[in-house]
Structures are given as structure tokens and as C-alpha cells.
């Protein structure tokens, strides 16, 4: 439909969700909405990478259990994370022994997984699809930034990678909420090179996909109870509102951001907000899914945002491109 969108003939039910987070996220404003708060950042494993896979494994398993399904009922697993070769999702889904698609969209991964999952279910290729995404603060710092014990200062525009996993079962059978449409984002490069200001990297991608969504469906922000981006943070939120105003859409009253809501910036020292695959994934699977279930929200546009930061291309002087995917979830 339109340039970048698709609507679904069948109602693709978000049958169940599961969210697992670390201790810091558990102490945040959304703490009580998560299924499991893991006090041990190592999750009983010997490395952060293994811990991330354990978060992923627990989340994927729990989502299947909460949907009252068995592993055999899952036709496809679509999962991803931030680590090279999607190691977090790979080792997390290894024991399930189900058909597996690794997906990558950096922090927008859950949006990509939900979009493709809904396409598979609606197209009749699957009855149940398991979608998930994970990230781990320490593992992400190690891969993308500096060793943890290095005494450096984080700039005020920086964000804090969320430790956790969010997973959802999409099904042909099941009640509300439903995924009714998707708008798939284009890759966007607005010339930003600052890896400590991911909000500025991703805001144009969010603006691009949200305005495309409104154009494709002839909708305005008023159609939705909330437009929820993944991890723009405070800096990215301001930029997104200004960019969309430029396009003729005022989202200032409807916009919410998982990165802003998952941490308390005054007490948790997270600067611009939360980030990482698990930021949007856990905030949706924990908090926003619950809000939809108890009908405090009925129509949301969920827009996980991703900055495609490759350490090698970055060092070779490339800009950081970004992408965001919009998923319409309604009761």
C-alpha cells in the first residue's frame, strides 16, 4: 500500500510477549512491567556475551510458554541483536531447534522482526512466529566503545545500552492486540558521524518512516494514541519533533520514546536515555504490550529506530546510516 507500506488481510495477533531485563532497568520507571529482572548482570554465566544469550534464551522460551505453545508450534524464529554475527540471538535460540532467521537492524531489530513475522503469518507461511531482540550493556560497550574499567567521561548526548531481551509470539489465532499494518523504513544518511549522539543519527530515519506512513495511509498523528520510537532519547526526540513539524506533522503530544521511559535520567545517570535492541524490545514487550492489553492504549505506531554503526566503516570515515520500521498495533 502506498510507497512503503503493507496492510494485512488476516489479523496478526500479538499473542504473547516476554521481557527480561537487568538490575538497572529493573530499578527504572518501567521496572514492575518486566517479567524477569535479573539481578546478576552475568546471568550466572562467565562472560557478558554468554549472559546476553542467556537473556535471549529465557525471553524466547518464556514468550512461547506464555502463548501456551510448545517449541514445535513455532514455525519460524526471527531474532537478532547488536553483537557480530548476531551471536546473542544465535546462541539464545540454538536449543529451540526451530527454523531460524537471524535479523539485523541494529536497535530497530525488533521492528524488523515484528514486520517480517507479520508478513509470514499473514501470507499463510506460518501459523506462529517468534520474534525477539536482545542487547547487553557490557557486551555492547566492549564491542563498540571502550573497556568498561577505562576511566572516561560519557558526553551528555550519549545513551545507555539496555541489558535485556524482548520477545513476542505472533499468531494467526489469538486475541488483540493485532498488527494491522507495517511501513518499512528506508536507509537514511544525514551526514552524522558522531557515535556519541545516536539520537541525532536516528531521528531522520524515524521522521522518514513516520511521514511515509502518514502519506501512505492518509493518516495524521491524531489517528494514534501514541507514536512510540525505540531509542531516540531526549536529544533525538527534540530533533524528531522538529523534523516532523517541517514535514507538516505535529507529533509533540503523541510522541513517546522507549529510551526516555526505560530509565530515570535524574537518578540513573543515563544522559540522553536508553538504547540498544532491548530498549525498544523490552519496553514494548513489557510495558506497552501491557498498556494495550488493559486498553489504556488502543492504537499505537511502534517505530523502533536503529543506527547502523559498523566500527570498521566508521573508522574509514563513513557516516552512520540509520533505519526505522513502523508497526501499527491496534486492539
Amino acid at each position: 500500500m502506498g510507497e512503503q507500506s503493507a496492510t494485512f488481510d488476516f489479523k496478526v495477533s500479538v499473542k504473547s510477549t516476554a521481557s527480561i531485563v537487568g538490575a538497572k532497568e529493573g530499578k527504572g520507571p518501567l521496572g514492575k512491567y518486566f517479567d524477569i529482572v535479573m539481578e546478576d548482570i552475568l546471568a550466572g554465566k562467565e562472560s557478558w556475551e554468554k549472559a546476553e544469550s542467556e537473556f535471549a534464551r529465557l525471553g524466547l522460551d518464556l514468550a512461547v510458554k506464555k502463548a501456551e505453545l510448545k517449541n514445535e508450534d513455532i514455525d519460524y524464529v526471527l531474532a537478532g541483536d547488536l553483537l557480530s554475527q548476531s551471536a546473542g540471538a544465535t546462541f539464545g535460540a540454538l536449543d529451540m531447534k526451530r527454523p531460524f532467521f537471524g535479523v539485523f537492524g541494529a536497535c530497530s531489530t525488533i521492528g524488523e522482526a515484528l514486520s517480517l513475522g507479520a508478513v509470514l503469518v499473514d501470507g499463510g507461511f506460518a501459523k506462529n512466529v517468534l520474534a525477539g531482540a536482545s542487547s547487553h550493556f557490557c557486551a555492547a560497550e566492549k564491542q563498540f566503545r571502550f573497556p568498561l574499567e577505562l576511566g572516561t567521561q560519557r558526553p551528555p548526548t550519549s545513551t545507555w545500552t539496555v541489558t535485556g531481551e524482548g520477545a513476542a509470539v505472533l499468531s494467526r489465532e489469538g486475541g488483540p492486540p493485532y498488527i494491522t499494518a507495517i511501513t518499512t523504513g528506508r536507509l537514511v544518511d544525514m551526514g552524522v558521524k558522531d557515535q556519541n549522539n545516536m539520537g541525532a543519527v536516528m531521528a531522520p530515519a524515524a521522521c522518514d518512516v513516520i511521514s511515509a506512513h502518514f502519506r501512505d495511509f492518509g493518516r495524521t498523528p491524531d489517528y494514534y494514541d501514541a507514536i512510540i520510537t525505540g531509542d531516540l532519547g531526549y536529544v533525538g526526540q527534540e530533533l524528531l519533533i522538529r523534523l516532523l513539524k517541517n514535514e507538516g506533522y505535529d507529533v509533540s503530544k503523541k510522541h513517546r520514546d522507549c529510551g526516555i521511559e526505560i530509565f530515570d535520567k535524574n537518578t540513573q545517570d543515563t544522559h540522553s536515555g536508553g538504547s540498544g535492541c532491548a530498549c525498544a524490545a523490552a519496553a514494548f514487550c513489557g510495558y506497552f504490550y501491557n498498556e494495550l492489553k488493559c486498553r489504556k492504549l488502543n492504537k499505537i505506531l511502534f517505530v523502533p529506530t536503529g543506527a547502523i554503526l559498523n566500527p570498521t566503516s566508521f573508522m574509514q570515515g563513513e557516516n552512520i546510516p540509520s533505519v526505522a520500521h513502523a508497526v501499527v498495533i491496534e486492539n
Partner: protein
């Protein structure tokens, strides 16, 4: 988003307007206090060595050794990164910061083993300082040799 919407240059300006600024004055003050504090500790160690009968040269060496040890110890105890967060350059520039930049990756990459982990990655932060420090000292040495 295409350039046609707002344009990269205009967006760059918008980003600049939006980004919260680092508190330069407060950060400089903290760096001065902590950096100066580390130097005072160094001076105390130096004076103690001198009063214990060490020569001027060896007192300097002992001081460096003790400060490096303290930097590594505080890194291992998970304290130095907290000092660094508060002090910024104040705890990066002194020799303790150098010790921190070597010991932090050593701890971090221990999980990948002692050869491909610690051995290969220990200088991942300090490597450039060592390489270009060595090269510039050679250049300065040559200039001194030919001009003295």
C-alpha cells in the same frame, strides 16, 4: 530522508542547536583538582623516597612504579573508572591514567584467553600512545644529537 527535505547542512546545524553541552568550566575544575591531587600524591611518594635515602633518579622511578601500581589496583577494584567519570582528563593524563588504559583492556579481554585475549588486546587503548610516543622520542633524540 532525502536532502530535498531539509538538507544535510541544515540538519547539522539543527543537531548542534539541540545537543546539550558538556559543562566545560565544572569539568575543568574537577580535572584540575583530581589531576593536581594525583600529582601531590606523586610528590609525597617522591619526597618519602628521597628522605629514605634514594637518589634523585631512582626516587623518580620508584614514584612512577608506585603510581602505576595504584592505577592498576584501583582499576582492578573498579574504582578508577568512577574517578575517571568524575575527573575526565584529570585522571587520564597522569601516569595512573596510562596504567588504567592498559589494565582495563587486560581485565576486559581475559574472557578470550591469555594469548588472543589479554596478549593481543592489552594495548588496544594505549597502543597508539606507545607507538607515536616511541617515534616522537626517536625524532626528538635525533634532533638533540645533531644540534647539541
Amino acid at each position: 530522508m532525502d536532502d530535498t527535505y531539509i538538507g544535510k547542512e541544515k540538519y547539522k546545524e539543527m543537531v548542534k542547536e539541540t545537543a546539550p553541552k558538556s559543562k566545560t568550566t565544572a569539568n575543568s575544575f574537577r580535572a584540575f583538582i583530581v589531576g593536581g591531587g594525583i600529582c601531590v600524591i606523586g610528590q609525597i611518594i617522591h619526597n618519602l623516597c628521597l628522605s629514605a635515602g634514594a637518589g634523585r633518579d631512582s626516587a623518580g622511578t620508584y614514584t612512577a612504579v608506585v603510581l602505576i601500581f595504584l592505577g592498576c589496583l584501583l582499576t582492578g577494584l573498579g574504582i578508577y573508572d568512577k574517578i575517571g567519570k568524575f575527573a575526565g582528563a584529570g585522571s587520564v593524563v597522569p601516569i595512573t591514567g596510562f596504567a588504567n588504559s592498559v589494565s582495563a583492556p587486560a581485565i576486559e579481554f581475559k574472557k578470550e584467553g591469555y594469548v588472543l585475549g589479554v596478549g593481543a588486546k592489552i594495548f588496544v587503548v594505549a597502543g597508539p600512545v606507545i607507538v607515536y610516543g616511541t617515534i616522537s622520542s626517536i625524532i626528538v633524540g635525533l634532533i638533540y644529537y645533531f644540534t647539541r
